[in-house]
């Protein structure tokens, strides 16, 4: 290391500093410190002339370190770094001594304050002596993004990104995109989920830069923000684009299972079309149940079926990842509010689906073979700890969805009695109008509190027994049908998602965002973004907006074509590292791994992942891991300088 030549610049900040601190004395004192070749004071160091003063000295006295004693670095660090950089000095060779916020503004005794200011400067000089020049690194950013999940959130994100000019790969595990919104019937009194989705399909089709992988899943993700490598497994569909949707294959298929695309309201074959105007618009064979009997292959006149298809692995280079794999509906256990014990006890999803004209009942409300004269919704099924196995969280959309469908029922069947049995009605924000509307339409609301309602299945029919909170009485409501307003669960395959993408989960089981309040669509890992219900229950609108928002983050990340990496990050000295791996466990960003460098285990820091907190440095037992800008020797020097000591390491 070349002998440090340090310049010290003491700012008056008008009277802010000079009023309480004898800046002249401080500057004089600074001159006496080792390696200080010049020290000056000036009325406003941050001003143009102040900065010029520094720049001149750097040239004249060929300074290789600068210490500015003025205000807090949070205020002017950038200013002075830029200044020294303009004078041709590496901008990280500037250190600030905070003698305003930490001294002149909080103390009044001029003598004591001056003494303290001297020490603060001495500490800064001591650190400055050990500063190293640092370079910002730049890595190329792939102009492409991977979107996981083809629901409304994923589709929205894909659209924004593609329109922005990025190549988008949309990976969906089922044979069609569209997600649950396509099946959920009416999302508000006027709009059908299916309509929204098919309109989005139109946009997607017109968009050249979106490549869709259905029946596919992400099986491996490596690299870092701007440079991810994603491995996709594309499972065979067994049906090619020759398919004309004639449907003859379906006729002959011997396998029949419950149709998840109608939430089990009817059955489907092993070869099936998820729903009308599913996209891509071809039949698909459910490889989990198909017995490869070949009947469909025989009957298909267009040779669209190929049972020989094999799964294939596709490798993609992407700059960013948007996770939008949504949620699963809560699964009531058999007997939960009589679920599974009576044909007229169904879930909210089934009801909503039913009221969709595309549904098996063609939009008719037919439960247990008849149109119910009275129907009751039970809220918070699986949410807010209402039943054993229920989650503590509120599922956010069930109240609105239930009320919305209650209104639909009232519109279609005015003389059907509709009850909503609830704990708290969560029609937050403008959705409150639906609550009012339902009231006007004479939907009857029954509140319970801690005592949960009971469903009675009797020869006389179905009853709900509930302790009505507002009248404080047990009441018994005879009903023809019961709708369980089930909440949302994290998707079944979230474990794999975590394993592959290294995102983490909160206590409630959904993916955790970088910050719950101010970074709701970012994962802690740079370059991974979150949209829709994967972070917790949302309604459709919120999910769609999250799609756009996640896209915005990806745009910001990739727009410059390169990503600059803050240089004040961790650095391994391979000469000293013994690969003990303690640092690996403490890194909050999984930025550190153990690499084998010619037979030797050593820690390796993925620069693009490191956020520069330095906790690995504190943990490193051999001093091999150093936090640039806050190295052991720098902080020790600062510490010793408090007492006028020199560091000796």
């Amino acid at each position: 290391m070349t002998e440090p030549r340090i310049g010290v610049y003491v700012c008056h900040c008008g009277f802010n500093i000079a009023g309480t601190v004898d800046v002249k004395k401080v500057a004089e004192y600074a001159k006496t410190l080792p390696n200080v070749v010049v020290a000056r004071d000036y009325v406003f160091m941050c001003s143009e002339p102040g900065q010029d003063l520094i720049k001149q000295d750097i040239k004249e006295h060929n300074l290789n370190r600068v210490v500015v004693a003025s205000c807090s670095p949070s205020l002017h660090e950038v200013t002075f770094r830029t200044a020294v950089a303009e004078a041709g000095l590496n901008k990280y060779l500037m250190e600030m001594a905070n003698i305003r916020e930490h001294c002149s503004w909080v103390h009044h005794d001029k003598e004591k304050a001056t003494e303290k200011a001297k020490e603060i400067v001495r500490m800064a000089v001591a650190k400055a002596r050990y500063l190293d020049p640092l370079e910002e690194l730049e890595v190329k950013a792939e102009q492409s993004a991977l979107v996981l999940g083809g629901g409304v959130a994923g589709l929205r994100a894909a659209l924004e990104l593609a329109n922005y000019g990025l190549q988008v790969y949309l990976v969906e595990k089922s044979p069609t995109i569209g997600g649950k919104a396509a099946l959920i019937g009416y999302v508000d009194p006027k709009t059908k989920g299916a309509e929204i989705v098919s309109k989005m399909f139109e946009l997607i089709k017109e968009c050249p830069r979106i490549h869709i992988f259905t029946n596919s899943e992400l099986i491996q993700l490596s690299g870092f923000a701007g440079n991810y490598t994603a491995k996709i497994r594309v499972n065979p569909r067994y049906v090619t684009e020759k398919c004309t949707l004639c449907g003859e294959c379906e006729e002959v298929c011997p396998i029949e299972i419950s149709n998840e695309y109608n939430f089990g309201l009817n059955k489907r074959k092993a070869i099936f079309l998820p729903f009308n105007n599913a996209y891509p618009p071809y039949y698909a064979i459910d490889h989990r149940v198909c017995v490869k009997c070949g009947e469909c292959e025989k009957v298909c006149r267009f040779g669209a079926i190929n049972l020989k298809q094999e799964p294939k692995i596709v490798e993609l280079k992407v700059g960013a990842l948007v996770i939008a794999t949504g949620y699963d509906p809560y699964r009531p256990f058999k007997g939960e509010y009589g679920y599974g014990l009576h044909e007229s006890i169904i879930t909210l999803f089934q009801l909503a689906r039913m009221l969709d004209p595309e549904s098996p009942t063609k939009g008719e409300l037919i439960i247990g073979g008849k149109i119910p004269k009275s129907i009751a919704f039970i809220q918070c099924v699986g949410s807010r700890n209402t039943t054993p196995g229920a989650k503590e969280y509120c599922s956010r959309m069930c109240c609105t969805t239930a009320i919305n469908n209650a209104i639909k029922i009232k519109e279609k069947y005015p003389d059907t009695n509709v009850y909503i049995i609830y704990k708290d009605i969560m029609t937050y924000g403008s959705d409150e109008s639906l609550y009012e509307e339902a009231g006007k339409k004479l939907v009857q609301f029954v509140k319970f509190e801690d005592k949960i309602p009971r469903v009675l299945i009797t020869p006389e029919g179905l009853f709900i027994e509930v302790f009505e909170y507002t009248i404080q009485e047990n009441i018994r409501i005879p009903v023809d049908a019961i709708v369980l307003s089930i909440g949302m669960l994290p998707p079944r395959d979230i474990e794999e998602l975590i394993a592959v993408t290294r995102v983490s989960c909160g206590g409630e089981g959904f993916v955790r965002e970088a910050h719950l309040k101010l970074a709701p669509v970012e994962a802690p890992t740079k370059g991974i973004f979150l949209a829709g219900c994967i972070t917790g229950p949302k309604n459709i609108l919120e999910s769609i907006r999250m799609g756009s928002a996640a896209a915005a983050k990806a745009m910001s990340l990739l727009s410059k074509g390169k990503i600059t990496i803050e240089p004040m990050i961790a650095q391994v000295n391979e000469e000293k590292c013994s690969g003990c791996a303690i640092c690996v466990g403490v890194c909050p960003y999984s930025a550190i791994s153990i690499k084998n460098v010619n037979g030797d285990r050593v820690a390796y820091v993925e620069k693009a992942l490191c956020m520069g907190c330095g906790t690995c440095n504190a943990a490193c037992p051999s001093g091999a891991m150093q936090h640039l800008g806050f190295k052991d020797v720098q902080l020790l020097a600062q510490t010793r300088a408090v007492f006028g000591g020199e560091v000796n390491v």
Binding site: K576, A581, I582, V584, G585, S593, T615, L636, V649
Partner: protein
């Protein structure tokens, strides 16, 4: 013929293990004798202090000193040897950082003396006979009249380099024959690292040499700390990852990880690596890092720490005397040593 380099070999507060390590060189010892003349070696040869005093200054090529500085006598002797020697080497953990005897620095001298002369189970001292600075023996009928002076202890045990200037360090409790041999090679060949360096050992920690290093899981996170006397260690599995308080990561290598290979956690006798300023402080920092709880689980964290009765003994076993804060000796007059006794 050119005369051989002169070697002095002295022991201060040590257990004799270091001398053993010398003998452990086995047949290599013969090579040593061929290469050097031993001019002073109380453990094996009958040279007296005067003999050393007679030697011209700087005439000893290398002085190997083991053991910490506990007594005035130690202090005088090492100062003398410094004067007479070109190179002084702190040999072994005690000399380098105080070693096990250095743990006495947690107590003041009176406590130490009481412990030593009254409390330790191996001592039988009903009359509470205590050490005396000066003893006057006067037995006229036998015509004996003599004064015996006993050297005084220092208030704390000091590593060699706190008393005299030290050129090099050879680590270990005791140094392994290989480490000693490497060091000798370096000394004899004359190609030596900068003054103040550790010689004969590695620049990386024990983990680097430890075959169990490979067995580590990706992340080392433990729920409790274990000690070999309380828990059985699974063989062929990183001891730290199992929760054992292994000092391997923070300890200088060179020992070929003898202890971990015998399923015994490293205790740190090779001391710290360059760049570390406090052995125990650093050890605390990584033990604290691998404990897998959040501050909201205060109880669990405290319990995990409580389970280990003597943290200082764990993290400063050989280096307390050289640590930043490892002295507790009060500056009060030592009362347990009498000035004079008469017999």
């Amino acid at each position: 013929m050119t005369e051989k380099p002169k070697v002095a070999w002295y022991w201060c507060a040590s257990c004799g293990g270091c001398e053993e390590s010398f003998v452990d060189l086995a047949e290599r010892l013969l090579k040593v004798f061929e290469a050097v003349d031993i001019v002073f070696c109380p453990v094996a040869m009958d040279f007296k202090r005067e003999d050393v005093e007679k030697l011209p200054d700087g005439s000893i090529t290398v002085a190997l000193i083991n053991g910490g500085i506990r007594l005035k006598e130690h202090e005088e002797m090492v100062k003398l040897l410094r004067k007479k020697s070109k190179i002084v080497i702190a040999y072994g953990a005690c000399s380098a950082w105080g070693g096990i005897p250095g743990l006495a620095n947690l107590y003041n001298l009176d406590e130490v003396i009481e412990r030593k002369y009254l409390e330790v189970p191996t001592v039988e001292n009903p009359k509470e006979v205590m050490p005396t600075k000066k003893t006057i023996v006067n037995i006229p009928e036998a015509g004996i009249k003599a004064e015996i002076e006993l050297t005084e202890p220092l208030p704390v045990l000091l590593p060699l380099d706190k008393v005299i200037d030290v050129d090099y360090y050879i680590p270990g409790c005791p140094p392994t024959p290989d480490v000693f041999w490497n060091a000798l090679q370096a000394l004899l060949s004359g190609n030596l690292p900068p003054k103040g360096s550790v010689i004969g050992a590695s620049q990386k920690s024990v983990c680097d040499e430890c075959p169990l290093n490979e067995t580590k899981p990706e992340k080392i996170l433990v729920k409790e700390f274990k000690r070999p006397d309380k828990a059985m260690a699974k063989p062929n599995e990183c001891l730290l990852a199992q929760g054992f308080l292994c000092m391997g990561p923070v300890t200088r290598g060179g020992c070929k990880s003898l202890c971990p290979q015998a399923n015994m956690p490293c205790t740190g006798c090779f001391g710290m690596l360059d760049g570390i300023v406090d052995f125990g402080g650093k050890a605390i920092s990584y033990f604290g890092s691998i404990l897998d709880y959040s501050p909201l689980e205060e109880r669990e964290i405290k319990d995990a720490y409580e389970k280990v009765p003597d943290w200082v003994g764990v993290v400063y076993r050989y280096s307390l005397a050289a640590s930043k804060l490892g002295h507790k000796a009060r500056l009060k007059k030592v009362e347990r040593i009498k000035e004079v006794t008469e017999i």
